[in-house]
Symmetry: C2
Subunit: 242 residues, 2 copies
DNA sequence: GAAATAGTGTCTTTAAGACAGTATGTG
DNA sequence: CACATACTGTCTTAAAGACACTATTTC
């Protein structure tokens, strides 16, 4: 028996970690920020950034710390997703992981991408909110294997997002400070994996009270420029964690 | 250094428990199954049944075991709710709790109620899905204090139920094998805390494909007896845990 | 002016709410 | 038969989808 497994087995309780599924929108498709893993187990696969929860550390703080330490990312939208505790999810021993998902505009990620940190495109094989593991594809469209149960965690993230985007203001977290209605529509289409009706989307969002007109319009386009909106963050909307 | 050893040697880690918010419907109102606590801390308060997660034990199994050991309840609807990890939620140390909620018809609880096990009526002070702690009232309508963050856990349970009952078949879990449409309506009204429109409720449920007519009708009523329905459990519906 | 998307107005379709009226049991 | 609730049919209302039409920018 290898020494690591031996060390874990001497303790009677499961260990507690956090994993963070950070999603962003690139070229109209959702991508996840993943780490290329060098060590046993699952060496060579991609995994979500994660780490142990310290004693006296709040769970959301642990998730934010993991993103800061492993990806140099600060002040992103974070929300608890689900806790994964299958006894065999880590071959070294029983590790229970509280999964969080994070959303961030693509512009904020440029510096973070490096050798062992990559954005993989998500391919969701189901078309409703049924759930199940999903696939991660590299720039060439080749499937890259995911370690542990992280394909399952990303699937649960998509399931949560699809169920939530219609009535909760999460789409804004993937856009910059200001955006057009078409950009917001494209976020919703990327999350839901299907085309949406432009007319009713416009009506619904304008009537929702979530949008504030900036007065500005987009530029650099060969057509009538669209009005730019800002997300009106009310006191009941979720906050960011530093 | 290997991360596992680092966590064990450098940092102490939080302990992991499960807590179960078991809800039932009695006299048209939602009640929670609570234990009267005798020990420090929170001696004299009511608390949710809970316990430590054993190594190599799945989380849902731990939740079902707690219900079996502390309440002699088996084979109930159980679903993971949220994981509570505030460092000060237990004054004895950092205890992270994976909360589950359970739903069970009132008839199945009669034997479970005893000296230290009681059903308290829930009083939800908010009228949408905004969330927050809720109150527990005894048979006389007197508020009974809840230990730890269990008022918060019950509040999150109500929030989840209210958000879910409109599109997921959870109302059936609070009813017996067969039921009338009016009984199902009353379940929805108890969960949502408001009156619903009878006509559209009937239309919606009959069109949903979730109900199977038994052919029988209720008896013992001084008016035209209503048709009895059975919940049509499809393969995508949630299962029970033994 | 051509091209392209933004934005407006209106008709149709669909689901919920309202409500009148009929059906069927008990006492 | 009175009464109470079950159930049915239809009108109204609100929101989504469809689509025609106008507006405004770049090239």
């Amino acid at each position: 028996m290898e020494p690591v497994r031996q060390a874990l087995d001497t303790f009677r309780h499961p260990h507690l970690t956090v994993d963070v599924a950070l999603l962003t929108l690139r070229q109209g498709a959702l991508h996840a920020l993943l780490l290329r893993r060098r060590e046993h187990p699952f060496a060579g696969t991609f995994t979500l950034p994660g780490g142990f929860v310290r004693e006296h550390e709040p769970l959301a703080t642990a998730a934010a710390r993991v993103l800061a330490e492993k990806c140099d990312l600060h002040d992103v939208f974070l929300e608890q997703l689900f806790t994964f505790g299958a006894p065999d999810r880590d071959p070294r021993g029983h590790v229970v992981s509280v999964a969080y998902y994070a959303l961030v505009p693509h512009e904020r990620l440029h510096t973070a991408i490096g050798d062992d940190l990559d954005l993989l495109r998500l391919d969701v094989p189901w078309h409703d909110t049924s759930g199940g593991p999903i696939r991660a594809l590299d720039a060439l469209g080749t499937e890259q294997p995911l370690g542990f149960d992280h394909a399952e965690i990303l699937g649960t993230t998509m399931q949560r997002l699809r169920g939530k985007i219609d009535y909760a203001p999460v789409g804004f977290e993937l856009l910059g400070e200001t955006f057009t209605l078409l950009q917001l529509l494209e976020v919703h289409e990327a999350v839901l994996g299907r085309k949406l009706n432009k007319d009713s989307f416009r009506r619904r969002l304008l009537a929702s009270g979530l949008l504030q007109e900036t007065g500005d319009h987009e530029g650099e386009v060969a057509h009538r420029p669209a009005a730019l909106y800002r997300f009106l963050r009310s006191n009941t909307n979720p906050a960011r964690l530093a």
